[in-house]
Amino acid sequence: MYRIRLHEFEGPLDLLLFFIKRDELDIYDIPISRITKEFITYLHLLEQLDLEVAGDFILMAATLMQIKVKMLLPKELDEKGEEIDPRADLVKALLEYKRYKEMSEEMSLMESNMRKYNYRGNLDQDPKETLNDYEVLLKNITIYDLIKAFKKALLDRPAEPVHQIKKWNVTIDEQMTYISTRISEKGSVSFLELMIEMRDRIRIVVTFIAMLEMVKAGTIGLRESVTLNDFVIYGLNNG
């Protein structure tokens, strides 16, 4: 009997293909009730084993049920007046998926083949004359590299040295004044920029409360920033 390892299936299409192969079904004339039943049995099996049933599988189960119902109803006609097989889309999806799945097997062989080749190590040892006109040129840099760099820049953001006398007793009033000062410099200030200057937690919390107070009082406004997890604090005229 089949010992199915549940991880074997990459998704609902993979599982359906498995049923079709195993039972030598005609992919163009899939017995939809039967395969739906098998599919749902499988999902219940996963449940019984207390394994997580992925949403993609549930969605497919629903699709199968829908096709099954449509099979019982009078067929819809296309523009040419021909009957539309409710299974057509599913068959198309199965064939297309199978096509790439086959190629992935092909690629797996290519991968194994390439693993037998080893590239050269210790390249640094090669004698080379250095040419000193260092300049920067773009090549092989993609958007992905760009956003990675951006994220890294934000993560690595240094805690700036703060040139002010540390006061442990921070008051909301003081921090409200501080925020006002910061805003008056440039008209606005980024929340992160503001927070990054705070060394201790109490100061951050108090500043945050001060900020909320000022929003409530209508002296400052907040707006979204282009940066993730940040926003801009700006002064309002009536403040």
């Binding site: 010992r3 199915i4 030598e24 009730s33 693993r115």
Partner: protein
């Protein structure tokens, strides 16, 4: 082309850690020996062929591969077990089935969006896509002109290198849908199950508990008596 360049070309390929394109070789030679130096991409190609012939004759342990738009020295597969024994680099994991499947779809349909990819695979592909981006096997090339302007994904030169392809056109042709349809044998499916069983031997220990459970319960039945009711015209 002057054959003295064979040696220069050999040095340039030998000292490069990534496949070096013929254009780079020509650029280097012209930069140092003058822009009038007569050397074409075909000359470089011929030199490489000649070098490989010599390696073969002299019984060298390496050869020059033509992959990822360029040339790179690599040890011949014959000695992979010895090299693998000492090298930690080569013990890195193979790609998962999900990763291979995703790569195949991106490779053949590129550039494509995540929704397109997911509609073919039938499953959410965030995780796999993220892994492939991190491994530099795929990257983002821009945005589609369609509604919502989703990001477009393409394969990289690293992808070509990984699979030993010179250009993306060297990928084996996928079968036509009609051929797939005719295909009645299901050996390949069995083979896959058996193969992955072997490959995952290491993981098997971890999964042993689950495994035992599954073996007990996952005897999926397929009855023949159901067939009659299914014949709906």
């Amino acid at each position: 082309m002057d054959s003295i360049y064979n040696s220069v070309i050999e040095a340039l390929i030998f000292a490069s850690d990534d496949p070096i394109p013929p254009s780079d070789i020509i650029t280097a030679i012209k930069a140092l020996d003058g822009p009038d130096t007569e050397i074409t991409e075909e000359d470089v190609e011929n030199s490489v062929d000649e070098l490989n012939r010599k390696y073969e004759q002299n019984g060298n342990a390496f050869t020059i591969l033509k992959i990822a738009h360029g040339f790179i020295h690599a040890t011949k597969p014959d000695h992979s077990k010895y090299v693998g024994y000492l090298s930690t680099e080569k013990t890195k994991r193979k790609l998962s089935q999900a990763a291979l499947e995703t790569l195949a779809i991106i490779a053949y349909k590129q550039p494509l969006t995540k929704p397109e990819l997911e509609s073919i695979r039938g499953v959410n592909s965030d995780y796999t896509l993220n892994t492939l981006l991190e491994k530099n096997l795929v990257t983002i090339s821009g945005r589609a002109e369609t509604v919502g302007r989703p990001l477009l994904y393409v394969t990289t030169d690293e992808f070509l290198k990984y699979f030993g392809l010179r250009t993306i056109n060297d990928l084996p042709k996928p079968r036509e849908i009609e051929e797939i349809m005719k295909d009645e044998d299901f050996l390949e499916q069995k083979r896959r199950i058996m193969m992955s069983g072997m490959e995952e031997k290491a993981e098997a220990e971890l999964e042993e508990e689950t495994q035992n459970e599954l073996e007990m319960d996952s005897e999926l039945q397929s009855e023949s008596e159901m067939n009659d009711e299914d014949q709906i015209e």
